[in-house]
C-alpha cells in the first residue's frame, strides 16, 4: 500500500489518538489557526471586493473606451462633442454624463446616474441582453419621456420596483423626479453586477436630472493603437482646457491610491495569523517535549526517524485542516462586515463605489485555507525535527534540554539584535516602498521577540529577590521554575509580548493620529459656521453650492466675514489633482506649515501673485518642494505655479493644491463655490445663527449647515470610522494572543503535574500550590507586559514614521499617553492570571499520589 509507505497505519492511529486525547490542546490549536485564517480571509475578501467594486463601478461603465476627453476644472460644454462629430473625427465617440445620485426608493445608497447616447453608445457599452425586456421596447420612452431611467432587473427586484415606478432622485442636494422606464437584464454576470450600481438614462434626461444642461462630464473615445494623426486632429479641435486622457493611466492612478490602504489591511491581517502561529508552535513543541519518552520507545521498537517526523507532521496536518476550514467559514461570516467597512472607508477617503454585495471569490478562500495549512505545517517542522532526533533509548533528560536552551538564549538574542539592525537598515533604504516598510517592520518585530528570552532571564533574576521578600520560599521557587523551563516559558512570553506590543503600537498610532487631527482641526477650522452641499465622499465636497446661497449669507445679520472655497478636480502632467481655491486672507496663520520660506503674514499676498500651497500628502506623492513649480492644465493651457509652502492636512490622502480664489477664477473662469465658512463676531451664538440660516436660506438645494463644533465631530466620526477596521484587527490579534498564552500557560502547568505531585507529597498545601502557580503565571504576564511597553513604543514609531508616511503621506505627532501602556500590561497580566486558574485549581485539588501517578 502506497499510504503505508508514508506512515504505517498503527502510527496514524497513534497520532489520531493523541489528537483526540489531548482534546483541549487540539481545540486550542484549531482555534488559533481558525482565528488567524478567519481574519486573513475576511480582510482578503474585503480587499478583493473593494477592488472589484471599483473596477465594476468605474471600468465597466467606462466600457471599451481607450481615451476620454475631460475638462481640467471648469466644464465640458456639449458643443465640444458636437464639433468633433460634425468635423468628421472618424473614431467611435460617445458623450457621457456621470453623476452620483441616491433615492429614498432605493435605500438611499449611492447610484451612478449614467447618461449615454444610445445611438452611438453600443460600441462602448452593451447593457442589453436576451433576457432584457429592453431596450428596443423602451426606446421610445427612454428617449422621449422626461425622467426615464433603465435599471437592472436585479436592482428593481431588490427594491421592489416595477416598470413605471416613480423615483425621487437626490443629486447634489437637489431633488428631481424620475421613473423606471424599463429593466435591463444583461446576459453576462459581470455586466449584471456592474449594473447593480447604475441608473441608465438618455443623455438628455441625464442633463435635465443633474441640471447640467448644455454640459457633458466626459467624452469617451476608442482610438486605434497607432493614432497619432487622429490624436492630432482631435487636439486641434479641442478648446483649451480640455484634455485627452488615456483611460488606463487614469484608472491606474486611482488604483495606486487605494493600494496602500489595502496593503496595510493585508499586513495587519497577516499579523493575526502570525500570532496564531506562535500558538501552534508552542503547543506542538510542548506536545513533542512531553512525548520524548514515547518517541524514544518508538525508536527502540524500530520506528524510523522519518516516521516519527511524519507522525508529528500528521498531527499538524489534522489540526491545520480543521482549523483552516473553520477559519475560512468564519472568515466568510466576518467578511460580510469587513467588506462593508472597507468599502465605506474607501468611499470616505478615495472615491464613490456604487457596487456592493459582491460574490465570494473562491480564490480568496482557497488561498486562506492553503496558507493556514502551510503555516501550521511550517511551524511544526522544528518540533517535528526535534521529535525525530530523539535517540532510541529513553531520551535525554529534560534538564539537559533546558541547559541547551539556556545556552541558546544568547545566540537567539544576538540573532535578534542582528535582525533589528537589518530592519533599521531596510528603513534607511532609498526606496520609498511600502513593501520594504512592512519587511523592515517584520524584521524589527521578530528581532525584538527574539530578545524576549534574554529579557525574561534578566528580569527574572532582577525580580527574584523582590518576589523572595514578598512571597518567601514560594517567591524563590517561582522564578527558578520559570528559568528551568525557559525553552517553553520564553516562547509564551515572547508571543504574549508581541501581541501586547502590537496592541500598544497600534493604539499609540491611532491615538497619535487622532491627537494630530484634533490639533489640525483646531488650527484650520477657524470659521464659526460651515455650509456645503451633500456629497457621497466624506472628505472635501466637490459639489457646487447654489450661487443664491452665498449671495444671501454675505448679507446675513450677524455674519462678520464670509470665506469661500472652491474644490474641483483638475488635470496635470501628474494625472488628476484636487485643487482648492480660497479667499481666506488669514490662510497663512490658519495652517500648520511643514515647509515655508516667507513669513505667515505674507502667505496670502504671495498667493494673490499666483503662488500655491500644497498639502503634505501631495508634496510627498509628487516629490515637490517649496521653491519648485507645479504644472497644472488650465483652460488656457498648461501653467506653472510656484510652490510657496507645504502644510499639514489630514482631510485627504491624495492631497490637494491650494490656490487663491482670484487666481483660480482668472485661469478657470469659474465662479462656483463648494464650501462656505462664516465668521461671527465674538459673543454671537453660532448654534443660533445656524438655526436661523437653516430656516432662512432660500434655495432649491439641500445644504449641510453646521457650526464649527458639529463639523469637527463629523470629521472625527469619519476618522473613527476609518480606523474601526484597524481597531477591530488589533482586538482580533489580542484575542488570538490571549488564547495562545492561555493555552501555553495551561499546558506548562499541566506538564508540571508530576513535579507538583512531589511538592504536594513533600507537604505543600493546596493553598500554597495555588499561590505558586498563580505567582508563576503572573510573573510571566508581568514580564511580557514590561517587555511589551518599549517594543510597542518602537512599533508605534515605525507605524507612524515609516508605514503611515509611506502609505498616506501624513506626518503624525507622536502622542504617547500612558493609558495605552497601562491597558496593555493589564491585558497581559489578566491573560496570565486567568490562565493560571484552571491548572492551579486542578492541581491543588489533586491527591499527591494521583499527580505522581499521572504518567
Amino acid at each position: 500500500m502506497a499510504r503505508s509507505n508514508l506512515l504505517p497505519p498503527s502510527l496514524i492511529r497513534l497520532a489520531w489518538r493523541y489528537v483526540f486525547k489531548r482534546g483541549w490542546q487540539s481545540a486550542l490549536m484549531i482555534l488559533g489557526i481558525a482565528l488567524g485564517v478567519a481574519v486573513m480571509v475576511s480582510i482578503d475578501l474585503a480587499n478583493a471586493s473593494s477592488t472589484r467594486a471599483f473596477e465594476l463601478s468605474t471600468e465597466t461603465v467606462t466600457g471599451k473606451a481607450t481615451h476620454q476627453i475631460l475638462p481640467s476644472g471648469g466644464e465640458l460644454d456639449d458643443s465640444v462633442y458636437i464639433n468633433l462629430r460634425t468635423a468628421g473625427v472618424d473614431v467611435p465617440m460617445a458623450p457621457v454624463i456621470s453623476a452620483y445620485v441616491s433615492s429614498p426608493q432605493m435605500g438611499n445608497q449611492a447610484f451612478q446616474l449614467l447618461g449615454i447616447d444610445p445611438f452611438v453608445d453600443r460600441e462602448f457599452r452593451d447593457y442589453s441582453g436576451a433576457g432584457s425586456s429592453a431596450p428596443a421596447e423602451y426606446s421610445l420612452d427612454f428617449l422621449t419621456r422626461p425622467g426615464a431611467l433603465l435599471v437592472s432587473a436585479d436592482v428593481a427586484e431588490r427594491f421592489g420596483l416595477s416598470v413605471g415606478a416613480a423615483l425621487s432622485l437626490e443629486n447634489d442636494g437637489r431633488s428631481v423626479e424620475a421613473y423606471v422606464a424599463g429593466l435591463l437584464l444583461p446576459d453576462d454576470t459581470l455586466t449584471r453586477r456592474s449594473l447593480q450600481g447604475v441608473l441608465l438614462a438618455d443623455i438628455s434626461t441625464a442633463q435635465e436630472l443633474t441640471g447640467r444642461i448644455g454640459r457633458l462630464d466626459r467624452i469617451d473615445l476608442i482610438l486605434p493603437t497607432e493614432s497619432n494623426a487622429i490624436l492630432g486632429q482631435i487636439q486641434d479641435l479641442l478648446p483649451d482646457g480640455m484634455l485627452l486622457v488615456d483611460v488606463e493611466s487614469r484608472k491606474g492612478s486611482v488604483e495606486e491610491m487605494t493600494e496602500a490602504f489595502r496593503l496595510n489591511l493585508s499586513a495587519l491581517s497577516l499579523l493575526a495569523l502570525v500570532v496564531g502561529l506562535f500558538l501552534i508552535y508552542n503547543t506542538m513543541t510542548f506536545s513533542v517535549v512531553q512525548r520524548r519518552p514515547l518517541f524514544g520507545t518508538l525508536r527502540s521498537l524500530g520506528v524510523t526517524r522519518r516516521e516519527v517526523f511524519l507522525l508529528v507532521a500528521f498531527e499538524a496536518v489534522f489540526v491545520g485542516v480543521i482549523g483552516s476550514a473553520f477559519g475560512v467559514a468564519l472568515g466568510v461570516l466576518l467578511g460580510q462586515n469587513t467588506v462593508n467597512l472597507v468599502t465605506q472607508t474607501i468611499n470616505d477617503l478615495y472615491f464613490t463605489t456604487t457596487v456592493r454585495e459582491l460574490g465570494i471569490q473562491t480564490g480568496v478562500l482557497v488561498k486562506g485555507f492553503c496558507l493556514g495549512l502551510l503555516a501550521a505545517l511550517a511551524t511544526v517542522i522544528p518540533p517535528a525535527i526535534e521529535a525525530a532526533r530523539v535517540e532510541p533509548r529513553a531520551a535525554l533528560l529534560r534538564s539537559g534540554l533546558e541547559n541547551k536552551a539556556r545556552a541558546a538564549v544568547w545566540l537567539v538574542a544576538a540573532l535578534g539584535a542582528v535582525l533589528i539592525i537589518l530592519g533599521y537598515l531596510v528603513f534607511r533604504l532609498p526606496f520609498d516602498n511600502l513593501i520594504f516598510g512592512f519587511g523592515g517592520t517584520l524584521l524589527v518585530l521578530t528581532g525584538l521577540a527574539m530578545l524576549a528570552a534574554i529579557g525574561m532571564l534578566g528580569l527574572l533574576k532582577a525580580l527574584a529577590p523582590v518576589t523572595a521578600r514578598m512571597f518567601g520560599y514560594l517567591g524563590r521557587m517561582a522564578p527558578r521554575n520559570l528559568i528551568s523551563a525557559l525553552s517553553r516559558t520564553s516562547v509564551a512570553v515572547a508571543a504574549l509580548m508581541v501581541a501586547v506590543a502590537v496592541t500598544i503600537g497600534v493604539s499609540l498610532m491611532i491615538n497619535s493620529f487622532r491627537y494630530t487631527v484634533g490639533i489640525w482641526l483646531e488650527q484650520t477650522l477657524q470659521g464659526d459656521i460651515y455650509i456645503s452641499a451633500p456629497s457621497f465622499t466624506a472628505n472635501q465636497s466637490l459639489v457646487e453650492i447654489d450661487p443664491a446661497v452665498y449671495r444671501q449669507v454675505s448679507d446675513w445679520p450677524g455674519v462678520e466675514r464670509v470665506d469661500l472655497l472652491r474644490s474641483t478636480q483638475v488635470y496635470s502632467p501628474y494625472g488628476g489633482l484636487q485643487l482648492s481655491a480660497s479667499n481666506n486672507l488669514d490662510i497663512g496663520r490658519e495652517r500648520i506649515f511643514k515647509e515655508i520660506k516667507i513669513p505667515k503674514e505674507e502667505v496670502f499676498a504671495a498667493m494673490q501673485q499666483g503662488g500655491v500651497l500644497l498639502t503634505e500628502p501631495l508634496a510627498n506623492r509628487l516629490d515637490l518642494q517649496v521653491g519648485e513649480y507645479i504644472e497644472i492644465n488650465t483652460p488656457a493651457g498648461a501653467q506653472l505655479f510656484p510652490i510657496i509652502g507645504v502644510y499639514y492636512d489630514y482631510s485627504s490622502s491624495q492631497g490637494f493644491v491650494m490656490m487663491e480664489q482670484e487666481v483660480y477664477r482668472d485661469h478657470w473662469k469659474d465662479a462656483a463655490i463648494t464650501a462656505i465658512a462664516l465668521r461671527l463676531p465674538p459673543g454671537v451664538d453660532s448654534d443660533l445663527v445656524t438655526e436661523e440660516l437653516i430656516a432662512g436660506i432660500r434655495s432649491d438645494q439641500n445644504l449641510i449647515i453646521r457650526p464649527n463644533q458639529a463639523l469637527r465631530q463629523d470629521v472625527m466620526e469619519v476618522f473613527d470610522r476609518t480606523f474601526r477596521i484597524t481597531g477591530a484587527l488589533r482586538i482580533l490579534a489580542t484575542i488570538v494572543a490571549f488564547i495562545g498564552v492561555l493555552s501555553t500557560l495551561l499546558l506548562l502547568q499541566l506538564e508540571k503535574q508530576r513535579e507538583i505531585g512531589i511538592l504536594k507529597a513533600l507537604g505543600l498545601s493546596g493553598r500554597e500550590l495555588w499561590r505558586l502557580v498563580m505567582l508563576e503565571t503572573s510573573l510571566m504576564g508581568l514580564i511580557a507586559g514590561i517587555l511589551a511597553a518599549p517594543t510597542g513604543y518602537i512599533l508605534s514609531l515605525i507605524l507612524i514614521r515609516v508605514i503611515n508616511l509611506r502609505s498616506f503621506g501624513w506626518t503624525l505627532q507622536l502622542s504617547a499617553q500612558p493609558g495605552a501602556f497601562i491597558f496593555s500590561i493589564a491585558i497581559a497580566l489578566t491573560a496570565a492570571l486567568l490562565a493560571g486558574i484552571p491548572p492551579a485549581w486542578r492541581l491543588s485539588r489533586m491527591a499527591a499520589a494521583d499527580a505522581i501517578r499521572y504518567e
Binding site: V120, T144, T205
Partner: protein
Amino acid sequence: MMKVKFIWVLLIGLLVTAGAAAILRAILQPPETAQVAGLPSQSLILDSAEGFQRVIEEREFEFPADHGAHEEYQTEWWYFTGNLSAKDGRRFGYQLTFFRRALLPPAQGVERSSNWASEQVYFAHFALSDVGNGRFHAYERFSRGAAGLAGATGTPLFSVWLDHWRVEQIDSQTFLLKASQAEINLDLKLTDLKGPVAHGANGVSQKGAEVGNASYYLSLTRLEASGEIRLNEEIFPVEGTSWMDHEFGTSALGVGQVGWDWFSIQLDDSSELMLFTLRREDGSIDPNSSGTLIRTDGSTRSLAVKDFEIVVRDTWESPASGARYPASWQIRIPSEQMTLNVEPLIPDQELRLSFTYWEGTVSVAGEVGSKAVIGYGYVEMTGYAASMQGQF
C-alpha cells in the same frame, strides 16, 4: 469516552469562535440605512403611428422650405445617388441617404429643457461603388435629430446632415455634398438643372390601396455633379450626374407587400425615368406601382403600372445574405416606344447594414423610337434578404 470528550471540546471551541465572531461583527457593524417602499407603478405605452399626419390630399410645395423636414409625418428620407467618372474614365457610383423617423408626433412631445431631447431619430447610409476595382463600400450612422448632431431644414436654405455627412444648399441651384468614412472621402458640388419634380398625383405617390397609405414624393432628377473622391490616399477629380429623391409620409408597406424595386435612370438625351414596383408576397406586382418620365424639356408624364413592363433577365445571389436579387432588366414603355436594357456595373452592391438591401449603380442602353440612347442610373431593391414589412 475519549471521542465524547473531544466532541465536547470541539463544541466549546465552536462556541468560543462563534462568540468571538459575534463580538467582532458587533464591532464591525456598519451603520444601517433606511429603506422606503416603492411607489405604485404606472404604465406608459404609446401607439407608434397614431397622431401623425397622413398623406391624403395634394399640397402646395414651396422650395427650398419643402426640401426640409416635415416632422408631423412619421417617416422621411433624402436620397442622393449619382454616377461619376474620373478623368481617366474610372467610374464611381455613390449613395448618400438620410432617413428620419419620428418617435412621437410633435403635438405629443413634452417640453424639455435639454437640447438633446428629441423625438426625431436620424440614420444615414453612405456607399461608394468603385467600378474600376469592382469594390463596394457601405457605412451607416445613427443619431438623434437634436443638438446639431443631425437634422434637416429648408429655411433659409436646404440642408440635411448627420454628424459630418452633410448636404447643404448654397444658392437656389447649388448643393454641396460631403461625406467621409474610413478611407473614403466624397466632396461634390451639385447643380440643379431641371428643378423639382413632383411624382404621382402632383406629388402624392400612392403606395397602397388604403387612404393615407401614400407619401409626398419629390425629386431633383438632373443634378450636374463635379468634385473629388479620395480613396485611400488617391484623389480622383470626378464629374457626372446625380439624382435627389425626397419622400415623406406616414405610411407603411401595405398588407401583403414585401418590398420594392426602384429605378432612377438618366439618359444621354437629357430625359430621366423613375419607376418603382411594389412586390407582393406571392411574387406579383402591386397595382400601386408607378413611375414618372421627365422629358428633355422638363415636362413630366406619370406612368401607371399598366404603362410599363419590367422583365428580369438575370439574377445574382448574395453570398453574404443568401438573397437572390434581379441582376439584369429590360424595361419597356410601349406608349413611348422606349426599350431600355439595364445592367449593374458591379454585381455585389448589397448594403449589409441595420437592414440589408441592394442599391447600386447601373448602366443603361436601349432605344427611344428609332434613336439609340445610353445612360446611367441607380437601382434599389428591398425585401429580398428579409421582408421590409414592419421596417417601413
